[in-house]
Symmetry: C2
Subunit: 424 residues, 2 copies
């Protein structure tokens, strides 16, 4: 009898294993220093306070925490989140709020409710891999907009050009997906002017904006810039911003709890979607976080995280200055927040090919091309500074600089120092 082979759907055929995950399997050896993962610093986890909060849930509300809960989310957590958002200057009501199983669930449900196969989202180029995977899993497409030379958000001329070209081509563009605060992978933070510009663009073109804000609170340098959600709410109040928030970077990713802010009809549609996706997020983890928030300790925790990340970021920049070859075509971002910086290497270096040499020298990064959905650039990499210790940062940068130095030397020693023209 012949084998019974699974016959997968078009959605499934559009799902791509994360390149990052496959490469990361190579980095599981004990002596590798990995700048690859997007992991928060474990020393920021408030373990004792979270253990106490969990115990209070068991003492006070075990029956509710262990039972099924409402799809919209736990009332106590929603009340705490409304307090939190209010303290940050927003007006949020229960009807504008949906608790999610962390932000990746929001990134999955949004293309599900907005995109038919072939429909498009506008997004930064490069952008967060998990958002790309989710959009592709519904056969959606991404129209990539490069950053301005000032690294302060979209290149608005390119936006207009690519948008018009797509429309002329018959593409149906359904929303704009951006990470305005300390973008993954680039670390870029959008300026106030660019935020206002993209908001005006969205009003003019009647597009929704999905504002992905996992790193927003993790600003360690400079002044906070209002979110798009806030700018809209305090301005024309068109209600076309869907803001994605999560506890993953401000508390602990192992909780898998996030929340969405948005207008009521969109939240209602997402509630219906979530019913079929997982019924509800764990009532236990929601009530656990609510108990933690009720202690009022989150602000101090975030401040502590900011301090730790500022130190690590500064130290990594110092180490890059100290060890990296000094060249006009070897640059890195200097982010004011978040977990990552982005290194651009001489154009002839392919960071995917170099990855295996780096692993041999026991250092790992994420290849930049993983964050592109088409025509990837191959000479960039994402480097995480939140997870490693100071000692690991110095040693890891030293190893990385040596690998890159070897690549440059090999290229320059090539057939009579031959160089390929820029752009190839």
């Amino acid at each position: 009898m012949p084998d019974i082979m699974p016959e997968f759907s078009q959605n499934a055929n559009n799902m791509h294993k994360s390149v990052i995950r496959e490469l990361l399997k190579l980095t599981q050896q004990p002596n590798i220093i990995s700048f690859a993962g997007g992991l928060p610093a474990p020393e920021t986890f408030p373990t004792k306070d979270l253990a106490d909060a969990a115990n209070r849930v068991f003492q006070k509300n075990a029956e509710t925490a262990l039972q099924y809960g409402a799809t919209e989310g736990d009332n106590q957590l929603k009340a705490e989140l409304i307090k939190y958002e209010t303290s940050r200057g927003l007006h949020v009501e229960t009807k504008n709020l949906l608790i999610t199983s962390a932000s990746q669930q929001a990134l999955d449900m949004i293309p599900k409710i907005f995109l038919n196969p072939g429909d498009c989202a506008l997004a930064e180029r490069p952008t967060y891999l998990g958002a790309i995977q989710a959009i592709q899993s519904y056969q959606g497409r991404i129209i990539g907009i490069p950053s301005s030379n000032d690294n302060d958000g979209f290149n608005m001329i390119e936006l207009e050009k690519r948008y018009e070209r797509a429309k002329a081509h018959g593409d149906r563009i359904k929303y704009i997906y951006i990470i305005p605060d300390f973008q993954n992978p680039s670390g870029i933070c959008w300026s106030l002017e660019k935020r206002k510009a993209i908001l005006e663009f969205s009003y003019r073109e009647k597009l929704f904006i999905v504002e992905d804000s996992p790193y927003r609170e993790i600003r360690f340098i400079g002044e906070e810039i209002p979110s798009l959600y806030e700018l809209d709410q305090k301005g024309k109040n068109m209600g076309n911003i869907i803001d994605l928030k999560t506890f993953s970077k401000i508390l602990a990713p192992g909780t898998r709890v996030g929340w969405i802010l948005g207008r009521e009809d969109v939240i209602q549609k997402l509630v219906t979607a979530k019913q079929a996706v997982d019924l509800c997020t764990s009532p236990f983890t929601q009530m656990w976080i609510a108990e933690y928030l009720a202690t009022g300790k989150l602000e101090a925790l975030i401040e502590n995280t900011r301090n730790i990340y500022r130190e690590k970021r500064n130290f990594m920049l110092t180490m890059l200055d100290k060890y990296m070859p000094k060249r006009y075509d070897l640059t890195w971002t200097k982010p004011e927040g978040g977990l990552f910086l982005w290194i651009t290497l001489p154009h002839y270096i392919d960071t995917e090919k170099m990855f295996y040499k780096a692993v041999e020298k026991q250092v790992a990064y994420v290849i930049g091309s993983a964050f592109y959905f088409d025509n990837p650039e191959h000479n960039s990499m994402r480097i995480n500074f939140s997870y490693s210790s100071f000692g690991q940062i110095e040693e890891g940068v030293k190893r990385l600089a040596s690998v890159i130095g070897d690549e440059i030397k090999a290229h320059e020693a090539g057939p009579r120092g031959q160089t390929t023209p820029e752009g190839i």
Copy 2:
């Protein structure tokens, strides 16, 4: 400036708010006795043991539990699950196992990886609402197969007939979805013969079977019948069964943790899907359950749950006998396991219309029509016996019997006792 209205996808337009949830909003008043929810008995939750297990996670493994985890699931939990499945007679390796954010996530990902818009699944008629919602959210369709008169699984003649008709009609049928043990909503348990018959059918037609097994362990009467997964594994071993398991009914639904057993290529595709859906299930809740399983107390817990549910089920049947009008056209199932029984009323009673009268008399149920995807029957209801106390069961059945009695009387006192022909 005109409002910016969301323009939803076809998937979203196919999502339907759960009728159950909307009706249940009426049942939130304090004095209502609700047989509607599918809630486990809270007295079965091992609160003390779970609190201890959570504390052990904080003491031993807080850093891992609070960090991101692997999409496939936590290694410790997978090892415990392999022990558990082995003790139940299965051979399971890590590659056959995926941890999910409870079974609803599996029910969502399976149509996502198998169904293109218009593709079909064969399913019991009626069947679990959450499975219907998930399939519809990918524009999948369901071909319903009625139960045999013996209530022991599909009516196999109808299966062949409807399958041939669908194929002749050009329908692409991708898998069979069934709940062989104590089905939701009907409480039906498939006989060994029917299990073998559907397995042979699936081999002949080269179809996958999705075996949804949330209630399998909750058998309180009679002998366990092998699962389809076991029958295949110990028989022809074609590997075309995908078995969905969950801790929701054997431990506590608030954990939101389940697992899938299946062949490696299907598990791998589901892992890729899960990457984009939620990255990973909470490492904390997974390790928490693993710590609980390591105590070896689960078997005794399940035995205790069986005993409680047997008592409640018997008591509810006694109360139905005592209070319900005695008529050939008013019947109910007598399940050997699970959480539900299914009541069929005289054909002229519409349980949705009657629902509001029941709520007035402070008793609630789920309307049977919610479990049909087309041409629903309107004279049935699902009754839960696990959640209510004994006192509530007696009082609730009394109220329900009175509402039904009123409907029958009103009908018989109608214009000269006129009856509508059967089937209308």
